[in-house]
Subunit: 325 residues, 2 copies
């Protein structure tokens, strides 16, 4: 028995050490303690800040918050890759400058065409097929395509500290949602495996869809028209419409997330707003006020006084990507 007691103590210590650090890829800075303090306060039934599990709703932006978004949104890289593939089969599809730029994988030229050029590229690669066929195309791409700068697969460029945060929250009976400007049909292909988030908790931008029955087979077809843009004010609108509860934790990285954080943290009781600030040019990217993607001005200027936690990637994160780099 004397021999066993220290062993049991060791095991107990190991278990408690594991429990004590739900966020191993976060450095021991204020950011980490504020997150843990928040979660402990809302999950402790003895706390004044206790929140029932049914109301533990957490919403996360995707691009720039859960995975990288440079040099351009990954969904746009997917669209460009698809058009390049389509053009190899049939060059006659390249009927416009944006499509030609896409086929040449010239990101800058696509972007320089503005919103209309981007929508043309997205539509040509996303519409006119069933959701099932579209998602098979995305699955093929996610499992093979690699990022031009890191050489990682895109689903390896998810942020390890954020994946840990999502898991920690779910372990504490939170429901974790994605609320992103990205497309629902695109994100649902990898969200379960990459983040542990099932399709019914993926909220985002969507194209119009039509229900049709062809030769007795019902299908849902993606139409060449945007149904809803899940960005800026669209985020709280969509959260209210689909979840019907106000999140107690919301995380983003750009001013497109401002309204979501504002709406979430203005509710009664304990709330936590998180902004991922891209400060790490060495390990990831450094950008904020002047960026063409993920522009962050209001979040930096007003976030702190609203009590939001600004996460400094360079300081607060021990590791960046889930994939090895």
């Amino acid at each position: 028995m004397k021999l066993i007691a220290p062993l049991a103590a060791t095991i107990a210590f190991a278990a408690s050490a594991l429990l004590a650090d739900p966020l191993p890829s976060w450095n021991d800075t204020d950011a980490k303690s504020r997150i843990i303090d928040f979660v402990e306060s809302v999950t402790d039934p003895a706390s004044d800040d206790y929140v029932t599990p049914a109301n533990r709703i957490a919403t996360f932006d995707n691009d720039g918050t859960l995975w990288a978004e440079q040099p351009i949104y990954f969904q746009l890289i997917f669209a460009i890759d698809v058009i390049a593939d389509m053009a190899r089969e049939d060059p006659s599809i390249l009927t416009s400058d944006p499509l030609k730029a896409a086929a040449a994988k010239d990101y800058k030229a696509v972007i320089s065409g503005g919103k209309e050029a981007v929508i043309e590229v997205l539509t040509a690669s996303h519409a006119g097929m069933s959701v099932t066929d579209f998602q098979a195309r995305v699955a093929e791409w996610v499992s093979t395509a690699t990022h031009p700068q890191t050489g990682l697969r895109y689903d390896q460029m998810t942020y390890q500290p954020m994946v840990e945060l999502l898991r920690y929250l779910r372990d504490e009976d939170f429901k974790t949602y994605i609320v992103s400007g990205g497309g629902i049909h695109f994100m649902r292909v990898f969200a379960e495996q990459a983040y542990g988030i099932p399709s019914e908790q993926v909220i985002g931008t969507y194209t119009e869809t039509q229900y049709t029955v062809e030769n007795g087979v019902p299908m849902i077809i993606k139409a060449p028209a945007i149904g809803f843009v899940d960005d800026k004010d669209g985020k709280p609108v969509n959260i209210e419409r689909i979840i019907g509860k106000r999140p107690i934790l919301a995380a983003g990285n750009s001013d497109g997330d401002f309204a979501m954080l504002e709406w979430s943290t203005a509710g009664d009781g304990p709330r936590l707003g998180l902004i991922v600030h891209h400060t790490d040019a060495d390990r990831e990217y450094a950008y904020d006020r002047d960026s063409h993607i993920g522009k962050l001005v209001d979040g930096l200027d007003k976030g702190p006084e609203m009590g939001w936690l600004i996460i400094d990637m360079a300081q607060d994160w021990h590791r960046i990507y889930t994939g090895v780099r």
Copy 2:
């Protein structure tokens, strides 16, 4: 020990008897056994028909499927009651015949004005206020208003057999959703208490909403415009958009549910489509092909050959309402 054994046996028997009938308000007819056989086959890991919990999605229409819908949709009765109240405060609001008919609680006159009259009455009672204020109004009504024919509160006119079915499915790790032509903001007020369905699993028709910040307070305002009609083809479209998975069980009562059942039951593997057929003029209402509400033609004509189960309320249900009548 001899005394305790029979006691234990009795307890075990009692527990097993409870387990043996998850649907006590259903008569012992084919309908009940088909439902139980389906649930047992998809939840038995040894069965070829086994479905993982993540894919056990069940969707239910509300009006006429989970609660009654005669003489007119209860949400329209609510709207009419609201306008009558508003008119008592300020009769000058009654600027049209439909609004005057509503203030007089003349259901027939409102309905006879057609879709436009109904939308006018709904808009006047539902729009131009925050979702929070609207839902407080609904909560007040649900807790006090009573049905003109049964004298029951509306939330007592939910169907006991269907509430048992919802609970049985959740006990077997299904996620149960409402997918209804009714309004999400209206239904969410009572869905949790009446059906055990949380707001994030209530899908339905919605008005456009706007996010605004007034005097520093963010709010979501209901606009006087319909954003999406969750009926007919809109049901599979909304299910795909919000859940992103195809239900393995779908239940409705009218041709407005046909597409939802068609979409759900056309998927691979085991599927169950249910139609609640209103056959009980004594205890509830009897209507189908010629009804102005809940019209059911395609479901009766094509449902059986598609393998759908037509529930005969008079034959299959031992009890109708959750409320005492």
